[in-house]
């Protein structure tokens, strides 16, 4: 104000001066208002199909948080993992981060996610909300850091019309039956070349998915890629009859029976276009089919022994008001209404226990294979250890090579050699990280 007086040739009367000061302060207040009251948080997701879910959650928070703006940035999972590695270490990451437990462990070890506030901890630790598996999946060394959200879990998808045409009335009950079914379901042209694959298997492409899918199949024979001992250490020990059965099944289907070929259209896209009769995938495919092929005649079935469960939680980074808003968002995402919306509209399975799926199951019976399973059904998950991605990526590279080698199909000794080499490589990685069991 003193400055204004000095600059004025004709000093203003007191009332004018006060009016001018008031106007200036008023303008300043208007200019600063959005910065003070509006708040923005970002949500980073590795599943593009989940963007509408997070937007739905944000929409539901409008009444309670009218000034909160939620920016959802959902990209492909592998790119999401890269941005996390760079964003979290440079302090540029989003406030709400969606990440699977097996990968999140590295970040938890380095203190890059916030510890949950007391009320979130109480919510997560309440057995009425989450079972022990999901409570552990959001915790590190006994402390809660995340809010369990959804899980990846596999089941068999099959085309009911193709089954009927092949005279198959039930889904396969044992893993060995999958090959017989695939043979009966494969459609061929006049030259015998398959035009519709009997069973779409993950045979190529980059990334660790090939190894994950192989693990799911091998699990049906009673074997795992790595197993933990009583001391919490890990070991690969699958170069045996079960491992051979799993790998041989791939090779038989690809090279001997040719129920599927490496260049045939594959995965959900092929199933939706009726280019394959059956395949194993997570529950999100139900939402994908509803959107892309709503008239597809299909059903789902549980796998012979059990399924992988890949729990995904919401983790929070940052501090202050943004972190508080981020926790509020994560809690809102876990509201029963929102979780049912997630299952109904996107297809991923919520982790929360106390949900009533009956209305959705009635409308979408295909979801039953994911939530109504036999008591004896077993689950496994990816180990929460540092080198898990490297184990899967290197195993995938070996499997891709094996799947492309027709000479292996009829040579058990050669299959065993591949399994031994893969197993040794995994154990070498575990040893390097000090995680190998004796």
């Amino acid at each position: 104000m003193a400055c204004v007086s000095k600059l004025s040739r004709h000093p203003l009367p007191g009332s004018h001066r006060r009016a001018l000061l008031g106007s200036a302060l008023g303008l300043a207040a208007i200019a600063l208002a959005p910065a003070v009251s509006a708040q923005e948080i970002r949500v980073w997701s590795g599943y593009p199909e989940l963007a509408p879910f997070y937007e739905h959650v944000a929409e539901g928070m409008k009444a309670q948080y009218p000034d909160l703006s939620v920016k959802v940035e959902a990209i492909a999972l592998r790119e999401h993992e890269k941005r996390l590695a760079l964003g979290l270490t440079s302090g540029e990451a989003a406030e709400v981060i969606e990440l699977g437990t097996s990968t999140a462990t590295r970040y938890l070890e380095n203190g890059l996610f916030n510890e949950a506030p007391a009320e979130v901890t109480a919510f997560v630790q309440d057995p009425a909300n989450f079972n022990e598996f999901f409570r552990d999946s959001a915790s590190y060394e006994g402390t809660v850091y995340g809010l369990p959200l959804f899980r990846g879990q596999s089941a068999l998808y099959y085309n009911t019309e193709m089954f009927e045409a092949a005279g198959l009335t039930e889904p396969p009950a044992a893993m060995a039956d999958y090959t017989k079914y695939a043979e009966a379901l494969t459609k061929r042209d006049a030259n015998g070349t398959p035009t519709v694959s009997g069973w779409s298997m993950r045979l190529s492409g980059g990334g660790q998915g090939i190894a994950e899918k192989f693990w799911i199949n091998m699990f049906q024979y009673g074997e795992s890629l790595v197993e933990q001992d009583a001391n919490g250490m890990w070991k690969a020990d699958f170069a045996n009859e079960q491992g051979r059965a799993a790998l041989k099944q791939y090779l038989e289907n690809v090279h001997t029976l040719k129920t599927v070929t490496i260049e045939m259209p594959a995965d959900a896209e092929a199933f939706e276009r009726e280019q394959t009769a059956m395949f194993i995938r997570e529950s999100w495919v139900i939402g994908d089919i509803a959107a892309k092929a709503p008239d597809l005649p299909y059903a789902t079935a549980t796998l012979p022994r059990g399924s992988i469960v890949a729990p995904v939680s919401l983790w929070i980074s940052g501090e202050g008001a943004e972190a508080e808003a981020a926790w509020a968002f994560a809690q809102a995402a876990n509201e029963p209404d929102n979780l049912l919306w997630l299952l109904d509209n996107v297809g991923w399975l919520p982790n929360r226990s106390d949900l009533d799926y009956s209305a959705i199951l009635e409308a979408k019976p295909a979801l039953a294979a994911f939530v109504d399973y036999p008591d004896s059904y077993e689950f496994f998950s990816l180990p929460n250890i540092g080198p898990v991605e490297e184990i899967l990526t290197r195993t995938a590279a070996r499997l891709t090579e094996a799947f492309a080698n027709p000479a292996l199909a009829t040579d058990d000794a050669a299959i065993d050699a591949v399994l031994v080499a893969t197993q040794d490589e995994i154990n070498g990685l575990l040893e390097r990280e000090g995680l190998l069991a004796q």
Binding site: A76, R78, E81, A85, L88, R106, G205, D267
Partner: protein, 295 residues
């Protein structure tokens, strides 16, 4: 005094550029060299010094060996295809400048170089598609067996070479065209008077006189060949997997080790190996082409 002032002015004028170059080019190189001697997972604050352990591990890493072999084959494959093709195409365009379509030819050949890499690779992915691709349709029409271009271990590498060569060709032709335009016309006229045919003039005059251009183009092509990544990634990537065989190349392996396996120190040691390879090859090219040029 005036000379000193000029010298100072020159230093001051070049200093911002040097500073930027040091910060953006030299610092990352030295940091990569330093990281290659450490174990670092990108998340931890600790970076223990491990000496040459990363390099020792590289010696026994089969994925690194595969990546190195694939990258070398691709880089030299692109070089072998690009240099002679570019030289011949540039010669044809240069000596046919009277054609009304010469501008079209130049543009058509240069266009792939400026087309964004990812959409171009997507288009080639369709061309190479085993079932719906036009390449197999042509092969079938000619009576050949259709091929699984993106799935067969050998054909998938060839596919990457074809894509990279297609992209590198435009730039190489452009540089060769500049070279052809700078060649002395009198020499060619003298050769013609002596009875030399067009191909003879090209072989005995153009090629030797274009050695500096060939040196430059081959260095650029080889270096970019060793940096191949997006082409291999796009040809084998898909939202739901199972689209094609992943051709493992060095840059892809580095990215995988850095951001999927969280082994930045190890990836840095791969980068150092790549740097050394490119440096050695560049020196070899310089010595070969310069020596012969003098002779």
């Amino acid at each position: 005094m005036l000379r000193r002032k000029r010298w100072l002015f020159a230093i001051l004028a070049i200093l911002p550029t040097l500073a930027l170059f040091a910060w953006l080019r030299m610092y990352p190189i030295f940091e990569t060299l330093r990281l290659s001697l450490h174990k670092w997972d990108i998340l931890s604050k600790n970076k223990p010094f491990i000496g040459l352990a990363n390099f020792k591990e590289l010696l026994g890493d089969r994925l690194f060996h595969e990546a190195l072999l694939n990258t070398t084959i691709i880089a030299f494959g692109v070089l072998i295809i690009t240099i002679p093709t570019a030289m011949v195409l540039a010669a044809m365009i240069h000596y046919r400048t009277r054609s009304r379509l010469s501008g079209f030819y130049e543009t058509a050949i240069f266009l792939p170089h400026v087309v964004s890499l990812v959409p171009a690779a997507m288009a080639w992915k369709w061309i190479f598609d085993a079932r719906l691709g036009p390449l197999n349709a042509v092969l079938t029409a000619l009576g050949f067996e259709p091929q699984a271009w993106l799935f067969d271990p050998t054909l998938s590498v060839i596919s990457v070479i074809v894509l990279c060569s297609w992209q590198a060709l435009g730039y190489a032709v452009l540089i060769y065209l500049v070279g052809f335009k700078s060649l002395p016309v009198s020499l060619f006229e003298a050769a013609k008077l002596d009875g030399a045919s067009g191909p003879q003039s090209f072989w005995f005059l153009s090629i030797p006189m274009l050695k500096p251009i060939t040196l430059y183009v081959s260095v650029v092509t080889l270096v970019s060949g060793f940096n191949v990544y997006a082409q291999a990634f796009v040809l084998a990537s898909d939202a739901q997997g199972a689209p094609g065989r992943q051709v493992r190349v060095l840059v892809l392996d580095m990215l995988e080790n850095s951001f999927r396996n969280y082994r930045v120190g190890y990836a840095a040691s791969e980068a150092v190996v790549l740097l050394l390879i490119v440096l050695v090859l560049t020196l070899v090219q310089f010595s070969l082409l310069r020596e012969r040029g003098r002779a």
